[in-house]
Structure formats: structure tokens, C-alpha cells
């Protein structure tokens, strides 16, 4: 076995032109025991990041995450630059290319295969690391709200601090002074006693020859200069003048356009195809049938039915061609399935309870119910949801001579590259992958199905092809947030104390803790049964947290009402063991003016949900006007540990709330005859400006480990609103979308 080289953790190299390149490959979170984080089993601590310093003293942070508007490039650069003591005016960002060097997995594998002298006792742990790597970090994933909390904390900050240390060492040597006497400020090295100052660039090359520390001293919060400050986002100026390049804006010489229709009944195939009318349309070049495809990936794997594509000189001709096709589909036995069937199946499977798996089991639930004064039962249901990213799915592929170049905006560039290579029968090195800005992602753009279609089409027609899905295809061929049912039983004592909490739901994805409640209830029995249908599921902003945020935070509200208690105080009384949660809840109540009475026909609802390491409480305040709901305002409080980019956190909460409210009010994908019935924004609406509430967001910097921001705003939104509707009307809504049960004012507030 070889040595455990530090190179496995940090490597530095000199760039052509004298710059420095520092990469943090893997970094243990506990510097006293390098193996501790592996033993703790947190695969998300394995990170990878790079810094460049060039001759003009410009620091470039190379970010291994995709920018989808969450501001991650700016926030991560702030973390790196702060530890580096860089001059913010000289900081730039680049997105890491989709090559193996930026693969978390391959770095981890390379690190392990190097051979390390580990004691036998930790060998199983090391195998666990490999599993964690492949399981949780299938390459370059942007999702799970983990960019700042993982890459930033364990990658960018470490890289910045280690680089600063090396620069100081290099200057100390050249100046013949002690490293301890050198200070840094705004990308300058300073030795006060001898009045010497030099830009980082001067010592970058010398520093690059050194071995970096993988456990540099990181700043304490009181010493932060950039973290916690509002810095305008790097990506915004190009987004106001039309110059920002999204995947749809890629132009490749000689490219043609394509659009597709996949079997409307999921998993279906083409029985017969008459394409004569389509081929007769001017501009139509070809009609291509693509086979059933699948991708075998830890994150983003799928199997999907056959596809008919029309390739044309322009999108309009392709679209006209598609509409002119006469296709008969083989529905593979799923042609009669409806949403009602699926809902009935969920109910049956919950009642049967076969293979029920437990999420949490504490105390004795039977005793709790036997001792209860009141038993409360409730069934909650939610429909399938589509993502409807603003930018319809599209990809541009150029396959020639056994090589493929592809341009996509996606949440997992390396995973996509592999899927494209596999479907073309190439190896990964034969695929050059360009990741562009994404017009929304929300989880949909972690599935590579459409990129694979573009690659196959380019190969089929021998030209570069830009594939553009219609909005109709986007709505009908999504990987949906699963429809679900969640059945509750609670037992309350005579004075309203919650003695037992029982919950069984269908369809579990992740994160595992999503259905758990933070409240002090001695007897808890929470579990699930899987009840799959032919409708494909996928991650949808906050994944299971959004559905359980609605279920659990609505039902706890019902418990409060049954107990005759104020819903806020009822929750607060059960949070003594969770001071962070309590502080967030209290602050939300305070900011919302919870105790101030509202007039007739108005109401407030509160909800609390921890997700992705952050705790969020929301208060919805509504009015009923002309028997219609108007959402007047939403007050949100988030404890993300520490908000690196405060305005970015606020923006994400605003965004998460609107996304959650849109789904709560309108969101419903229904299945009839095996296929999705909705098709576009007219029948799958989004919240618009008039009906959108004012949102007030407050941040608590508790100083705990950093949490995510992109997703945690979504989970409490639906329940805060439904609880407010109960408060205003006495109507308890347990089924989404809400507009099936109560009217919403399209006009919103005046």
C-alpha cells in the first residue's frame, strides 16, 4: 500500500503564465481525526473546488455547480474570497467544465485507488465512503440545496484559506521574515514592520510549488468580511439585456431543429406511423423514431417510452410537422389508468399496510391511543405535479466521427455526459459537454432524457441538431412529484396534550427525514408503503419535504384546533427540546403580528418545517373577498445557520414560497386513459403578479452549520395557506390543489 499523500486532499499546480491553481479534493471536516467525517457517514462532506490566481491579481473561483438563478456562483465565490482575503473587485467566477477532474466521484475513487495505509478497522468505513460517493454525489449534482452548505463550507472556504497560507509562506521566505508577521488584505500581502506590500500574483507561482495544508485555520464569524454581506450577483447584468446564454441560445454552424412526441401513455411504443403529411411540409427534413431509452444512474435514472421526432430547418416547421403526424401507440397495458384509479390504489395499499416500512417508532402508540381522551383521524391527498421550468427542455448535439459535442443546461453535467455516452455507445471522453444557464431546474433538469434524445437525433440525421420540446411535451413527459396520500391518527389527552401521532403515507423518495415532526410527542409511529404506478416520479423542488410540509403541518394544526389551543402556541409548547425551531417559530409569530386580531373574513395560518439543514416558519395572512381567497402577505423566517449571501437567501425564500403557493393553489396533473391531461399554462397555471402576496423574509443567523436555501422556502407554504383558510373560514382543506375546494381571486389584492 502506498502512502496517504496530501495530494489526495489538496493539490496545487502552476498554470501557464504563472498563475496558481489550487484544488481541494477531499477534506475531512474534523482536523483532529481525518477519518471522522467518514465514520460519521456524511457523504456530503466530500468536496472539490478550484482557485486560479492570474498575473493581474485576478482570483477566479471555479465552481462545480450549475447556476440556475439561485446565485450559487456568487455565494460560493464570496466564501472562497473571504477566506483568501481577496479583493472582491478582482474576483471572477467560472463554472467547472464537465470533465472528470471535477467529478466528486472520480476524485474520491482516485483518492482511494492511490492506496492508503489504513488500519484494518476502518476498511469497512472506506468501502462505505465509496458507496456514499456513488450514492449521494453522482458526479456534479446541483440539488439538495447543498452547494453552499457542502461545497462552500468544505471546499471553497478550505481552498481559500489554504491558498492564503501558501501565499504568506512564499512571501515570508522571499522577504526573510516570519510568516506570522505577514498579514493579508484585499489580495495584498503585507509586512508592516518593513513596510513591504505585494499583490498575491507576485507569489502565486512560488505558492503553487508548495504543499497546501488540508486543515487551514478558517475564519470565525466575527472575522468575516465578505460572507454575510450582500454582493450583487455576477450573473444578473447579462440577464437584463438578452445576452445571457441559455441552452436554447446555442448556435452551431449547420444546425437543424427538431421537436419530439413521446408515447403519451408512459412506457408506450409506436404501433404505426404515417408521416407522409409531415414530410410534405416545407422545411421538414426527416422523421425519426427513437427507441425506448433508459439511463442507469444513481440520481436521474429512468426508462421512457418510444419517441417520434421531426427534424426540420426551423422549429416552426418541425412543430407543424409533428402536428401532421398520424401515430398509433401501443400503450403496453396502461391505456386505461386514471388518477382516480391511482388514488384508490393508494388508499387500498395504505389500508392493507403490506410491507409497511417505519420512518420512526417511539413509545407505545396503542397505549397512547387507549389513554387518549380524543382520537383525531384525517386523510390528506395530493396530485401529481409538473415542474414547468420557464425554459422548455432543449439540447443541441453534434455527433460526428464517433464523437459527440453537446450543449445543455442541466443540474448534473457529468451524469448527463455519461448518459449521453452510454446511449451513443461511446465512452465518456468521446463526449464533450457544455453546460449553459438553465431557465429553471427545480429537479426536472437532473434527468437526462432529453439530452439523450438530442444526441440520438444528431447521430440519426448526421447534422448538428437543436432539439426543442414544446411546452405541451414538457408538461406531459415530466418526472412528476408523486401523487400521494397521507393518513393520520392522533390521540389527545383531556387537556389537549398530544399523546400519540400515527402516520402512514404512500410513495417515499428522499430525504428520509421528511415525514418526521419536531414536536415532543412521546408515542410516534410514522411509516410508509410504496404504491407505484406507471407514472414516472422525480425530484420536485424540496422533494418529499414539500408534501410532508403540507401533511404534517396541516394535521398538527388540526390537533391544535381539537385541543382548543392557539396553533402557534400549541406548536411552541412542544418545541422545548428544539430551541432553533422555537426561535424561528417565535420570530415568525412576532413579525407577523400573530397576536393582533384580524377582522372578520380574514385569517392567519402558521407552518414550520426544517429541510436541507435550514429551519423555516411561515405565516400566511389572507382575506376572503367576495367568497374568494386573497393572499395578503406571507411572512417567512429562516435559520440557515449563517446566510453567506443574505439577499440571495431572501430571494430563494421568496421564490420557494411562490413555487409552493402555485402548486398549493393550482397545481394538478391528472391522468386519464393512462396519459397526462394538462398541456400548457392555460390548464396548468402558475401564480401571476396580481395574485402574488407581498413576502417579508427575515433571517436568523444562529451560527449553526450552514443549511440550504434553494428548497426550504417551499415546504411550509401550502400548509401555512391552508391553515389560514381554516382560520378565516372554518373550512379544513386536506386535498390539493386548494382551488378545487375554494375560489381564489385572480385579481388578488387591490
Amino acid at each position: 500500500m502506498g502512502k496517504w499523500t496530501r495530494r489526495a486532499f489538496l493539490s496545487a499546480g502552476v498554470l501557464a503564465g504563472g498563475g496558481i491553481l489550487v484544488g481541494v479534493a477531499l477534506r475531512p471536516g474534523n482536523r483532529n481525526d481525518a477519518l471522522a467525517p467518514f465514520v460519521e457517514g456524511d457523504g456530503q462532506k466530500l468536496v472539490h473546488a478550484y482557485i486560479k490566481i492570474d498575473q493581474d491579481n485576478v482570483v477566479t473561483a471555479i465552481i462545480p455547480h450549475s447556476e440556475m438563478g439561485q446565485g450559487v456562483h456568487t455565494a460560493l465565490a464570496q466564501m472562497l474570497a473571504d477566506e483568501l482575503d481577496a479583493d472582491w473587485n478582482l474576483v471572477r467566477v467560472e463554472e467547472a467544465p464537465a470533465i472528470g477532474d471535477y467529478s466528486l466521484y472520480s476524485v474520491g475513487r482516485g483518492f482511494l485507488l492511490q492506496g492508503i495505509d489504513f488500519p484494518d478497522i476502518v476498511i469497512p468505513t472506506i468501502e462505505g465512503v465509496m458507496m456514499m460517493l456513488s450514492d449521494s454525489l453522482d458526479l456534479q449534482v446541483t440539488g439538495g440545496s447543498m452547494s453552499v452548505r457542502v461545497t462552500g463550507t468544505y471546499g471553497m472556504r478550505v481552498a481559500g484559506a489554504a491558498t492564503r497560507d501558501m501565499l504568506k509562506r512564499a512571501a515570508a521566505k522571499a522577504w526573510g521574515v516570519s510568516e506570522k508577521e505577514i498579514t493579508t488584505e484585499k489580495s495584498m500581502l503585507i509586512h508592516t514592520a518593513t513596510s513591504r506590500r505585494a499583490p498575491y500574483a507576485e507569489f502565486a507561482a512560488a505558492a503553487a510549488e508548495m504543499t497546501p495544508s488540508y486543515t487551514p485555520k478558517l475564519k470565525e464569524i466575527k472575522d468575516y468580511k465578505l460572507m454575510g454581506q450582500h454582493k450583487p450577483r455576477f450573473d444578473i447584468p447579462a440577464k437584463v439585456d438578452g445576452s445571457a446564454k441559455f441552452a436554447l441560445d446555442v448556435r452551431v454552424p449547420g444546425m437543424v431543429y427538431a421537436t419530439v412526441k413521446r408515447a403519451p401513455v408512459f412506457g408506450g411504443t409506436v404501433k404505426s406511423l404515417d408521416d407522409r403529411a409531415a414530410r410534405a411540409i416545407e422545411g421538414v427534413l426527416d422523421v425519426v423514431t427513437l427507441p425506448v431509452t433508459s439511463a442507469d444512474m444513481m440520481i436521474g435514472g429512468f426508462t421512457a417510452g418510444e419517441v417520434v421526432a421531426v427534424v426540420a430547418e426551423g422549429y416552426w416547421a418541425a412543430q407543424r410537422g409533428l402536428r401532421a403526424l398520424d401515430i398509433q401507440w401501443d400503450n403496453k397495458g396502461n391505456g386505461a389508468v386514471s388518477s382516480a384509479d391511482i388514488a384508490a390504489q393508494h388508499q387500498r395499499d395504505i389500508e392493507a399496510g403490506a410491507d409497511r416500512k417505519s420512518d420512526r417508532s417511539t413509545g407505545n402508540i396503542e397505549d397512547a391511543f387507549a389513554n387518549a381522551d380524543t382520537i383525531l383521524d384525517a386523510d390528506y391527498t395530493i396530485p401529481y405535479l409538473a415542474h414547468t421550468c420557464m425554459e422548455p427542455l432543449n439540447a443541441t448535439a453534434d455527433y460526428r466521427d464517433g464523437q459527440c459535442e453537446i450543449w445543455v443546461g442541466c443540474q448534473n453535467p457529468l451524469g448527463f455526459r455519461r448518459a449521453v455516452a452510454d446511449v451513443l455507445g461511446l465512452n465518456e471522453e468521446q463526449v464533450t459537454f457544455h453546460n449553459l444557464l438553465m431557465g429553471g431546474g427545480f429537479g426536472r433538469k437532473s434527468r437526462p432524457d432529453w439530452a439523450m434524445q438530442a444526441a440520438l437525433l444528431s447521430k440519426a440525421v448526421g447534422k448538428p441538431v437543436q432539439l426543442i420540446w414544446s411546452r405541451e411535451e414538457d408538461v406531459r413527459q415530466d418526472f412528476y412529484r408523486p401523487a400521494s396520500r397521507s393518513v393520520f391518527r392522533a390521540g389527545l389527552s383531556q387537556d389537549g396534550e398530544l399523546l400519540g401521532w400515527q402516520n402512514t403515507y404512500v410513495n417515499k423518495q428522499e430525504p428520509a427525514e421528511a415525514p418526521l415532526i419536531p414536536y415532543a410527542v412521546e408515542a410516534q409511529d410514522i411509516g410508509y408503503v410504496q404504491s407505484p404506478s406507471h407514472v414516472p416520479w422525480g425530484a420536485w423542488r424540496s422533494v418529499d419535504e414539500s408534501m410532508h410540509g403540507f401533511f404534517t403541518e396541516s394535521f398538527i394544526d388540526e390537533c391544535a384546533v381539537a385541543a382548543g389551543k392557539d396553533p402557534y402556541e400549541y406548536r411552541a409548547n412542544m418545541l422545548k427540546a428544539h430551541p432553533r425551531h422555537l426561535a424561528v417559530l417565535n420570530r415568525a409569530a412576532e413579525e407577523a403580528g400573530w397576536s393582533a386580531p384580524l377582522g372578520l373574513g380574514r385569517g392567519r395560518g402558521i407552518a414550520l418545517k426544517e429541510s436541507f439543514g435550514s429551519i423555516v416558519a411561515q405565516v400566511a395572512e389572507i382575506s376572503i373577498m367576495n367568497e374568494q381567497v386573497v393572499i395578503d402577505r406571507m411572512v417567512a423566517v429562516i435559520d440557515p445557520g449563517f446566510a453567506v449571501a443574505p439577499d440571495g437567501v431572501v430571494a430563494q425564500i421568496e421564490s420557494g414560497i411562490i413555487y409552493g403557493l402555485t402548486a398549493a393553489i393550482y397545481g394538478e396533473i391528472t391522468i386519464e386513459d393512462g396519459a397526462v391531461q394538462q398541456s400548457n399554462f392555460h390548464d396548468y397555471p402558475a401564480l401571476r403578479m396580481t395574485a402574488s402576496p407581498v413576502i417579508e423574509t427575515h433571517i436568523i443567523n444562529s451560527g449553526y452549520a450552514p443549511g440550504g436555501a434553494g428548497e426550504p422556502g417551499t415546504p411550509p407554504a401550502a400548509s401555512a395557506l391552508a391553515n389560514a383558510i381554516y382560520a378565516a373560514t372554518g373550512k379544513r382543506l386536506r386535498d390539493l390543489p386548494l382551488n378545487k375546494h375554494i375560489a381564489f381571486a385572480e385579481g388578488g389584492r387591490a
Binding site: M68, G69, Q70, G71, P232, R233, D235, I236, P237, A238, K239, V240, D241, G242, S243, A244, K245, F246, L248, D249, R251, Y257, E282, G314, Y315, W316, T388, C389, M390, E391, P392, L437, G439, G440, G441, F442, I468, S470, R471, D647, A651, E654, S655, G656, I657, I658, Y659, T662, N680, F681, H682, A686, L687, R688, M689, T690, S692, V694, G748, A750
Partner: protein, 169 residues
Amino acid sequence: MTKKLRVNGVEHTVDVDPSTPLLWVLREQLELTGTKFGCGIAQCGACTVMIEGVAVRSCIMPVANLEGRDITTIEGLAGNTQTPHPLQQAWIDHQVPQCGYCQSGQLMSAAALLKRNPQPTDADINNAMEGNICRCGMYDRIREAIKTAAEAMPETTPEQEIAKEADNG
């Protein structure tokens, strides 16, 4: 069939099927990719441009009828000046865009509003922006940015006075 189109003050001759929506001509023939495709049925507003100063959904507007009309896209919003349009500056100041995909259309709808109504109320803004969806949900910021831009805009032009009188009349 060839058509003459005047976009951002520049004359172009394009050869396309006359039923082709303006959106695709802008994007494919003229390579003005700032105007976005979102729904294809005038439901989302991502494709909004101005025709004679009025916000129009270019995804359903066939090029057949557009000869001789002044078409302005996001690329032409600032005109020939090097400085951003007040709306663009306000968008930066309020850090409006997230993914940014809908923002060309949002800006063009807002620009058409301010042309017609330089001092809009909240209700005016809501009405004018109702056709533009933002899936990142930045409606509050868009509304505030429009107000900031309105304050920063120069005094009303004669053209606006006429438009206003027409509105009132």
C-alpha cells in the same frame, strides 16, 4: 417568401413561411436570441417584444403582417446608448432575475407600460404584467423595480402625452 422586417431600427430581409411566428424568425434567422420561447400559445410572456411600442407575444404573431412595423426586442431596449435602459438598471439594483429566462419578456412588458403610463400605480403594474409568468416568483421585485425605473425616467415625452390622452379619451 421574403419579408422585410425592421427590428431595433435595422432592416432585415428574411425568407420564411409567412405563418412563422415572429419569435422564431428573431431567434433563428436574425440570431436575436434574447427573446425566449416559453409556451407557444401567448400564456407566459417570455417571448414579449414591442411592436410600435406595444407589448406583443411574438410566439403567436405571424411575420406575414409585420412589414413596415417597428419591432423592438430586448437587444434594442437601451437603444443606441451605451447606458442601460432605466428598467434594466432597476432590474440590476433590485437583483430581480433568478434564472433570468423570463426577464427579457418581463422587461419588454414593463417598457411598454412605462411608454404608455410613465407613473403607474400598483394596479396598473399588476395589469400590465399579468401576462408574464416568472416561475422563480420574483413578482415583488419586478413590481418594485418598475416603480424605481419610473422615478428615474425622464419627463414624459410628447409621444407619451398623446398616448395618455388617447387612454383618457
